[in-house]
């Protein structure tokens, strides 16, 4: 149902098997399927981690933590069983890439989970999908059953003497459950309230055992690294940012879609060449480069390479790969307000700066947008957001505060234009929505 978009600059690695019928295990095997696992079995734990480190793969869930390094933190000896947990909660607004992976290539997630398990001698993996993704859960369950039938899962996988099981799990609607420690709580049958860290999941995770937790795209990339070789994979990207990733282009863009592009791909080119530019001859106003929680870039900040380091240097984050494009008719106050409504709705309520902060920010932004705001509201919004930063129990508070600070800082004039009873100036100039076909 959901399909990959392509452009001549696209480099299919994770998407290599998309649209080729690879949900069937026999077809998957024809497309070099499960060769990566066989190779990983011969390499052993240290060999696997070395290959992962060589690939320069960084987590696709948002923070961009080096995956090989993360796996190496899991202690070799552990009294408690170790686990692999695949994060398919995909709820960051602007992000719709994991969906394509599960729809087109669920076996790559299974393979990646097995290889992650082999790297730390875990015997069990969980694939957690957000509750809304029921059809993907069904596709994945079928793939898991096929892998069991072939002897790739269960006892003595591939005749190696090693056992490995995979259980699929559904969520039931909650953004916060995408946060790694809240995800573990959810999988343990509880409310998704995050856990205090340290200890980190690599040491004390699911059911108290050392746990590798990775985003679904990160895990789906793993077999390709073993198929191609870590160093080859790394070469596709930039320094310390190996390979390619799925970018989700959305918003005011001619050809929205999910495209696989090399890490470091220029953002301007991504918008104007890959995405075909802004519809209806409009000008660009802003880009949210990595999902709702990443600070917006202005139209003159887009000459950057899309990797974790370069976007970080530009004052934002590469995040989850959700590139949201805003044209000149967009009201930044309304956009900031919609973003904050989301965080206020999704705050789990555990800690005060986030629970109260998001609610107050929502109220202040509503007031400004509706014309009831005064100058002091703008100051207060910044003050509140800046004081949430780093003071919340989990990063959701930061995710709410950071973009807000950028909106006020970079588009202050728009906030001012709303004050003193004037209300939203964009309402009046906005043309009817173009017919979207």
């Amino acid at each position: 149902m959901a399909t990959l978009s392509t452009h001549p600059d696209c480099v299919p690695v994770v998407s290599y098997r998309f649209g080729k019928g690879a949900t069937s295990i026999d077809r998957y095997l024809e497309l070099e399927g499960y060769e990566a696992t066989r190779k990983a079995l011969t390499l052993g734990p240290d060999g696997i981690i070395n290959e992962m480190k060589a690939s320069n793969l960084r987590g696709r869930g948002g923070a961009g933590f080096p995956t090989g390094l993360k796996w190496s933190f899991v202690p070799k000896q552990s009294a408690k069983p170790k686990y692999v947990l695949v994060n398919g909660d995909e709820s960051e607004p602007g992000t719709c890439k994991d969906r394509l992976i599960f729809e087109h290539d669920p076996h790559s997630v299974i393979e990646g989970t097995i290889i992650a398990g082999l790297s730390v001698q875990a015997k069990m993996g969980f694939i957690y999908l957000r509750g809304e993704y029921r059809y993907l859960l069904e596709i994945t369950e079928k793939a898991v059953a096929q892998a069991y039938a072939k002897g790739f899962l269960g006892k003595n996988i591939f005749g190696s003497g090693i056992d490995f099981d995979i259980v699929t799990q559904t969520g039931a609607g909650a953004y916060e459950v995408g946060e790694e420690s809240a995800l573990m709580e959810s999988l343990e049958g509880k409310r998704g309230i995050p856990r205090i860290r340290p200890p980190f999941p690599a040491v004390v995770g699911l059911y108290g055992g050392p746990t590798i937790i990775n985003n679904a795209e990160t895990i789906a990339t793993v077999p390709h690294i073993f198929r191609m070789g870590g160093a080859e994979y790394a070469k596709l990207g930039t320094e310390r940012n190996g390979g390619t990733r799925l970018f989700c282009l959305s918003g005011h863009i001619e050809r929205p879609g999910v495209y696989e592009l090399p890490m470091g791909y220029n953002l301007r080119k991504m918008i104007y060449e890959v995405g075909g530019g802004i519809p209806n001859g409009k000008k660009l106003k802003a880009v949210v480069p990595g999902g709702a929680s990443t600070p917006a870039l202005t139209a003159d900040e887009i000459d950057i390479g899309m990797d974790f380091d370069q976007v970080g240097k530009a004052g934002s984050m590469l995040g989850s790969g959700g590139v949201v494009v805003l044209d000149e008719t967009t009201c930044m106050v309304e956009f900031a307000l919609r973003t904050m409504k989301f965080y206020a709705h999704e705050s789990c309520g555990w800690c005060i700066p986030c629970r109260e902060g998001t609610d107050w920010l929502k109220k202040s932004l509503t007031r400004i947008h509706e014309g009831g705001g005064v100058d002091k509201d703008i100051v207060n919004i910044r003050y509140l957001a800046e004081n949430m930063l780093g003071r919340t129990f989990c990063p959701l508070g930061d995710a709410a505060a950071m973009p807000t600070i950028a909106f006020v800082q970079k588009f202050r004039k728009e906030f001012e234009d709303h004050l003193e009873g004037r209300g939203c100036p964009y309402r009046r100039v906005r043309e009817p929505e173009p017919a979207l076909v």
Partner: protein, 169 residues
């Protein structure tokens, strides 16, 4: 249908009951089956009634209060009936930029219900939801678990008419 008081009607279909028997064996702890069990129970029974909550609590081995605490956390879980077709319109950022609010308003008018309302015939319910993972195909909505994307007021009309046609079946 009347049932003997001593023999209450089974809450779940035999297939679902069998599935639940299996669920609790899958994990290192039984409680891990709680969230999936609640969602699947709701899919079959429409909402999480007191009886469903009691039975799930029993199966997982936790108190009813703990089950209720979990239910209140997750947005897909509900303790009141929704329509047969639950229309969930995304108005989050990517959808908003491409007319998600207009789709929501259109649905309100068309169905004659506010956000979170249920039509009087019980066929439809409407809810404004957060990002559903269809941002590149915005604006988008889900009806139960089915995705509908690149929506226009005209295309959502067709979608609703299609479900309306299936309502009697």
């Amino acid at each position: 249908m009347s049932t003997q008081p001593s023999q209450p009607a089974a809450l779940f279909s035999p297939a679902l009951a069998a599935r639940f028997d299996q669920f609790v064996t899958l994990y290192p702890v039984k409680r891990s089956a709680l969230v999936p069990m609640l969602l699947y129970a709701q899919d079959e029974t429409g909402y999480l009634s007191d009886a469903v909550i009691a039975e799930v609590a029993e199966r997982v081995g936790v108190s009813e209060l703990e089950v209720r605490n979990v239910i209140s956390y997750y947005s897909l879980l509900r303790t009141r009936p929704a329509g047969k077709f639950h229309v969930q319109v995304c108005t989050n950022i990517s959808c908003m930029l491409r007319g998600g609010n207009e789709i929501l308003e259109h649905c309100k008018k068309k169905l004659g219900v506010p956000n979170k309302g249920v039509t009087s015939d019980g066929v439809f319910s409407l809810e404004e939801v957060e990002c559903i993972g269809a941002c590149s195909w915005a604006p988008a909505a889900q009806v139960n678990y089915d995705f509908h994307e690149n929506l226009t007021p005209e295309s959502i009309d067709r979608v609703l008419a299609d479900y309306r046609g299936r309502a009697g079946k």
